[in-house]
């Protein structure tokens, strides 16, 4: 039984990693006051571009870099419309999702069903990996799992322990005040939105290069939306995002774990669980903590200097 649980937790971490990348990006974007609902689209673009570059260059690190750049460029569209043009962020984000789904399907047509050119292998962390049970669960993964974990901590440090982070949070809470003390609101928002897109692209590439190394149309299958919900679940805190993403990953991994253990729960019910979780979290958070949930005050509203 220990083995079964250890295997489940290991699978949970791997399943949670693409969500964690995307959620961290969205978290940073939202902290600066921009709501980008295009995560699903940016992930798909990252997934397909990362895959294409890996096939063409034979090196997955080029693939990951290209995925980040393409995700960033997709997010640039969002930044331009919501910061410069002060357009409706919800509409633009949704459009970005549809745009990303279509573009990725179009780009990836010739690459469907090919094996990846450069598989990502696991790295066991010396010493830590030898700890019984825990070592196997946490310290025997592909490098991206560690990178996601470390990035979450770095994001937290930047947001809450540096001047940069203070500027980002100020822009998200009260752009007029930030502007008054000399912070360039549009520059911060552009930066955060683009970095958010890069992270989403990386999360997508994790799916197409590590998780199921191949490209398949629409392969994110709703994970971008889970990432958006996860930001709320984590109350805009990168550290909580780690726990949340692994929890969502566990629900995903449990679908098959329970079937094998012979526990007769409908697979359809289990596959619904991550989404049910999302809804419950949304409801509870909204009811319980309306004011104090950690949502940036200026989230989703454009900043216009003339109107302050």
């Amino acid at each position: 039984m220990d083995n079964v649980i250890a295997a489940l937790l290991t699978a949970a971490i791997v399943a949670g990693t693409p969500i964690l990348f995307a959620a961290l990006g969205e978290l940073l974007t939202e902290k600066s006051g921009i709501l980008n609902l295009g995560v699903e689209g940016m992930m798909l673009v990252g997934a397909v571009v990362g895959f294409i570059f890996t096939i063409q260059t034979g090196n997955h690190w080029y693939g990951f870099s290209a995925a980040m750049i393409s995700g960033g460029l997709t997010a640039l569209i969002h930044a331009f419309i919501s910061v410069t043009l002060k357009g409706n962020q919800v509409v633009c984000g949704l459009a970005l999702t549809i745009f990303g789904t279509g573009t990725s399907g179009f780009l990836g047509k010739a690459y469907q069903g090919l094996p990846t050119a450069d598989p990502v292998s696991k790295i066991a962390i010396p010493y830590l990996n030898d700890i019984p049970v825990i070592g196997k669960i946490f310290f025997n993964h592909d490098p991206l799992v560690y990178i996601a974990f470390i990035l979450a901590i770095i994001f937290w440090l930047i947001l809450y322990r540096t001047k940069w982070g203070l500027s980002i949070r100020a822009v998200g809470e009260n752009p007029a005040a930030a502007d008054a003390v000399g912070i360039s609101v549009s520059r911060v928002r552009y930066f955060c939105t683009i970095v958010g897109g890069m992270m989403a692209g990386l999360g997508g590439a994790y799916l197409s290069l590590v998780y199921a190394p191949s490209w398949q149309e629409n392969m994110t299958a709703g994970r971008g939306w889970i990432a958006v919900a996860l930001v709320i679940f984590a109350l805009w805190n990168p550290i909580w995002a780690i726990a949340g993403s692994y929890l969502f990953g566990a629900v995903e991994a449990m679908t098959f774990g329970l079937q094998i253990a012979g526990i007769k729960v409908s697979a359809f019910f289990l596959q619904m669980l991550p989404y049910l979780f999302t809804v419950i979290v949304l409801v509870v958070v909204t009811i319980k903590m309306r004011q104090d949930a950690g949502a940036p005050n200026a989230l989703g509203t454009a900043y216009d200097r003339e109107e302050r």
């Binding site: 010739a110 199921a212 094998i260």
Partner: protein, 370 residues
């Protein structure tokens, strides 16, 4: 653009009228299907996935290419990734309006939509792969892939070391259950102690989910994996874990050169050619076609050289028995999971029984419901 299109149609109509006037003298009255402006015989395909899936749709697309090669007068058009259900009706109708003489759909879930459209277009021949119901102008066609699955099960049963085989399956429908049963009977024919664990992914095409299904089977200790799903994700998982795997649909060795042992494969081309020839010369009749190894519509992919020669010989012998029709997979005694005798010794299951299978044979672990 729209104007141009209208103009183009007008032009075609005029040209058509002229050729009719010129050509009608003395010739037989053209039947309805000849009214299409293109002189080529048009065949439309509705695909559940894309030809790049390296699996199910790939195999059908190979058949489509074979058809074009064999009958040069045939022109084909394919709609990819068409969702099952209401949307498929629109797609099938679209092909009908584009002047297809024959429409082929390659997934079970297109059945109702196809029957609906077929009512409106009595002159078009509809071929529904893996379907259940036929009509005057609707045939169903499928292959006895279970025969090849039985053979792949023999290979898996011989190669497992811990008698623990995993099977990542798509949906709990008779087609898939029949495949699992045939596979398990093949496993137990060479290794009565081995069992087959089944998990349902409830999707035909989702590499991430299929990989997860495979991973969970590996975690549960399986050392040979088989699949009834359309992508090679299960093969990749087996390759990474350093265990063996049995593919499906097409030769999947390129995805898992070390893991892949063999796999049941489809070969649709010859059936397409036969059906289209019939439709072209008017001899086509509605049928429910269910061919086996003897027609070549199903086969076994090349067996890996890791499999011992005596096993390969046994597999070949069984294959020849099935080709000669002296033996079939579902020959008694067959017990279900609870040990109840379902098929008496020496008896064979009828095709109807095979087509409506909803229980697992002895040796399968898992539930035949999702």
């Amino acid at each position: 653009m729209k104007k141009f299109k209208k103009f183009g149609i007008l032009l075609l109509v005029i040209m058509f009228a002229v050729t009719m006037v010129v050509g009608c003298g003395g010739q037989k009255a053209a039947d309805d299907s000849d009214k299409q402006t293109a002189e080529k015989f048009k065949v439309g395909f509705i695909y559940i996935g894309t030809p790049g899936d390296a699996g199910w749709t790939f195999a059908h697309d190979q058949g489509r290419k074979y058809l074009e090669e064999q009958i040069p007068e045939v022109e084909t058009v394919a709609l990819e990734s068409v969702p099952e259900g209401a949307d498929s009706e629109r797609s099938i109708e679209q092909l009908a309006q584009e002047g297809c003489n024959v429409i082929i759909a390659n997934s079970f879930g297109y059945g109702d939509a196809m029957l609906e459209v077929a009512k409106k277009y009595p002159d078009i021949v509809f071929l529904h792969c893996s379907g259940l119901s036929t009509a005057d102008n609707v045939s169903t066609f499928f292959g006895r892939i279970y025969q090849a699955r039985y053979l792949s099960g023999m290979v898996a049963g011989a190669m497992t070391k811990n008698n623990n085989i995993g099977y990542a399956a798509a949906y709990p429908i008779p087609e898939v259950i029949r495949g699992i049963n045939a596979f398990t009977l093949g496993v137990q024919a060479v290794n009565p102690d081995a069992t087959v664990k089944v998990v349902w992914s409830n999707t035909w095409v989702d590499p991430t989910l299929e990989k997860q299904a495979a991973q969970s089977l590996i975690n549960a200790g399986c050392d040979v994996l088989a699949q009834h799903a359309d992508t090679p994700a299960v093969q990749q998982a087996a390759e990474e874990a350093g265990i063996y795997s049995v593919g499906y649909n097409s030769d999947m060795r390129s995805f898992a050169p070390n893991a892949n042992l063999t796999g049941p494969v489809w070969n649709w081309g010859p059936y397409y050619v036969r059906a289209i020839k019939g439709a072209m010369d008017g001899t086509w009749k509605s049928e429910s076609y269910w061919g086996g190894l003897e027609d070549g519509i199903v086969d076994l992919a090349p067996i890996s050289d890791k499999v011992p020669a005596d096993i390969v010989a046994k597999v070949e012998a069984k294959k020849n028995e099935m080709i000669a029709k002296t033996w079939d997979v579902f020959t008694g005694p067959i017990y279900d999971q609870d040990g109840t005798l379902k098929v008496q010794e020496g008896q064979q299951m009828t095709d109807d029984e095979k087509l409506s299978l909803d229980w697992f044979v002895k040796g399968v672990e898992g539930s035949p419901k999702s």
